[in-house]
């Protein structure tokens, strides 16, 4: 496997964790949560600061998840208790987090090169088992991690609380009449989602060797692109299927980006490309359906016209 391909696979799988978080809010809760752009960076910031200050990378990563959960919960509280529109509460959190992230890091960028991170530890452990495992240790680690997360998400969404969470996004009025406090389910869902996003950010910082205050910009769109591409290609019949599709979507998105870079687009074009991918992915299914419909109708009209002709000619012959 080429290094470039391996690299996109590794980062794609790390982004998939974030995409699962976006799936929880965007699809399950029907809550377009823009906190993601801020909480992704928060994850990277918390992990980086703790790691350079000598804490274990494992602890740093856990702390990042907790920070993500807290800020996600705050967005949920703004929306449910403060009655602020969902989009706006996400934007408010995202903006506030920009300053908070700078506070956490103390500066705009923290380098992790030469530091012990979760991923360097994995690589060191892998290199003990020969060259092959050394090369693929990171990708294997993140794949196992993302599959574990997927299984936990699948399990959670099938529990009694998980069902109530799904119903909150599907028919809030109904689940309230079945004694669920939808404020709580929304806060819980947005919190868990941002926990996953922060985990993804923490891993990304350790993977790329630095945490940057702007590393989260555009993350929500990448997450959406992953969800939409994944569902379009792999389907979303059941929760299990959809979570798998989201992971696949994130990896495919990363591969497409790598391909675009190879044909000469610059990294600064990527945000535009992502926006275009999402626009196409949103519009294309509708256009394809329209086109199929028209074709079907045209065929039916043609058939009935020829039947009519045959009937008329039959009439002539009889006469």
């Amino acid at each position: 496997m080429g290094t470039a391909l391996l690299g996109s696979l590794e980062s794609g799988v790390i982004f998939a964790i974030m995409a699962l978080g976006v799936y929880l809010t965007f699809r399950i809760l029907d809550f377009p949560d823009l906190t993601v752009d801020g909480s992704f960076t928060t994850g990277g910031a918390v992990a980086a600061v703790l790691i350079v200050n000598g804490y274990s990378p494992f602890l740093g990563t856990i702390a990042a998840v907790i920070a993500g959960i807290i800020f996600g919960a705050l967005t949920g509280i703004l929306h449910t208790k403060g009655k602020i529109n969902a989009l706006l509460s996400g934007i408010l959190s995202m903006i506030a987090l920009y300053s908070i992230n700078l506070r956490i890091m103390g500066k705009a960028n923290i380098g992790l090169l030469g530091e012990d991170t979760l991923l360097t530890q994995v690589q060191t452990a892998g290199s003990g088992f020969g060259e092959w495992l050394s090369k693929y240790s990171i990708v294997l680690f993140v794949i196992v991690l993302v599959i574990l997360i997927k299984l936990v998400v699948d399990w959670f969404l099938d529990t009694e609380v998980g069902l109530a969470l799904r119903a909150t996004g599907n028919n809030a009025r109904m689940i309230r009449s079945f004694s669920t406090n939808t404020d709580n389910t929304i806060i819980l869902g947005v919190a868990l989602s941002n926990g996953l996003v922060a985990l993804s950010g923490a891993l990304m910082a350790q993977y790329q060797g630095f945490s940057d205050v702007s590393m989260g910009i555009g993350m929500i769109i990448i997450g959406l692109a992953s969800v939409i591409i994944g569902e379009a290609i792999f389907g979303d019949r059941s929760i299990r299927r959809a979570t798998l599709a989201v992971i696949g979507g994130a990896i495919i998105y990363r591969l497409v980006v790598a391909l675009a870079l190879r044909v000469g687009l610059s990294p600064s074009d990527m945000k535009l490309m992502t926006a275009l991918i999402v626009i196409i992915a949103l519009i294309a299914p509708m256009m394809i359906n329209n086109w199929k419909d028209k074709k079907k109708k045209a065929a039916r009209r043609k058939q009935s016209a020829s039947e009519m002709n045959a009937h008329l000619e039959g009439g002539k012959n009889n006469a």
């Binding site: 529990t159 009694e160 609380v161 069902l163 109530a164 028919n171 309230r176 009449s177 004694s179």
Partner: protein
């Protein structure tokens, strides 16, 4: 079982749009009572349902369910005591979720939700058994998404879900009004069957006078936020649409006469 005392509710109070929705409502249902409510649009029927279920809070007065004052409980907090079916067949179920998942949510209504699986093997058997009582074959479609069901099937499922945990009070809010006549008849039959089997204390709003007469043991007519007629079980047995209309005209007429007397 259900006691409403001095309930008043005014919308847009103090503005030109002020509307007295409920005017000093007194109503008491005994355990097992099945009361049908009729009345024209704007009579306050739906407001009454929303005040019992906690969607709206009354300006004055108290709501008691099973000797417990529930005034300060929010909708989701009262929900363990109350089952409700809405007019819109889409309103009572979650369309993107399966039949068994919907039933699992109904099953958890009066229990604390935890991290147990929502649909277990034992529960699935229970769901199957209760779906059989609907005679719609839904017991063979446990894993079908509810959004795929027809309006009648969805409303039958809503009814089953609302009554699954045998609530203290069942509220039916014109729950057959959005269905075609044959489906409406089916849901009416199911309603009678389920309410009788579990002896549920029921309050049903309807626009259909025949249905209001056929179902239940007591009939209430509302007008302009007041209860203007209360037909007791003895009288209700011999009630017909004509007599109901005549009664309505008599009350309205009397009122009219008294207004004229005052103005006179």
């Amino acid at each position: 079982m259900l006691k409403l005392k001095d309930i008043n509710k005014i919308f847009n109070e103090g503005t030109v749009d002020e509307k007295i929705a409920l005017d000093d409502i007194q109503l008491e249902l005994k355990k097992g009572d099945f009361v049908t409510i009729i009345g024209s649009n704007g009579a306050g029927k739906s407001t009454l349902m929303n005040i019992i279920s906690g969607v709206l809070t009354p300006d004055e007065g108290s709501v008691e369910i099973d000797d417990q004052v529930v005034n300060n409980l929010k909708e989701f907090q009262r929900a363990p005591l109350i089952g409700r079916v809405f007019q819109d067949p889409m309103a009572g179920t979650a369309p993107a979720m399966t039949i068994e998942e919907n039933l699992a949510m109904a099953y958890s209504r009066d229990k604390k939700r935890g991290l147990r699986k929502g649909v277990t093997k034992e529960r699935r058997l229970l769901f199957k058994e209760s779906l059989e009582s609907l005679h719609l074959g839904l017991e063979n479609r446990l894993t079908a998404k509810v959004g795929l069901l027809s309006g009648g099937e969805r409303q039958a499922l809503s009814l089953l879900m609302a009554t699954f945990t045998k609530p203290k009070v069942l509220l039916l809010d014109e729950h057959t009004a959005a269905l075609d006549p044959s489906r409406a008849a089916l849901i009416t039959d199911l309603t009678r069957e389920i309410v009788e089997r579990s002896g549920l204390t029921t309050l049903m709003v309807t626009h259909n006078m025949q249905q209001a007469i056929d179902l239940g043991n007591r009939l209430i007519m509302m007008d302009k936020g007041r209860i203007i007629l209360d037909v007791d079980p003895e009288q209700k047995k011999t009630l017909t649409i004509e007599r109901l209309l005549k009664e309505f005209e008599r009350i309205r007429g009397e009122k009219f006469a008294s207004d004229r007397a005052v103005l006179g």
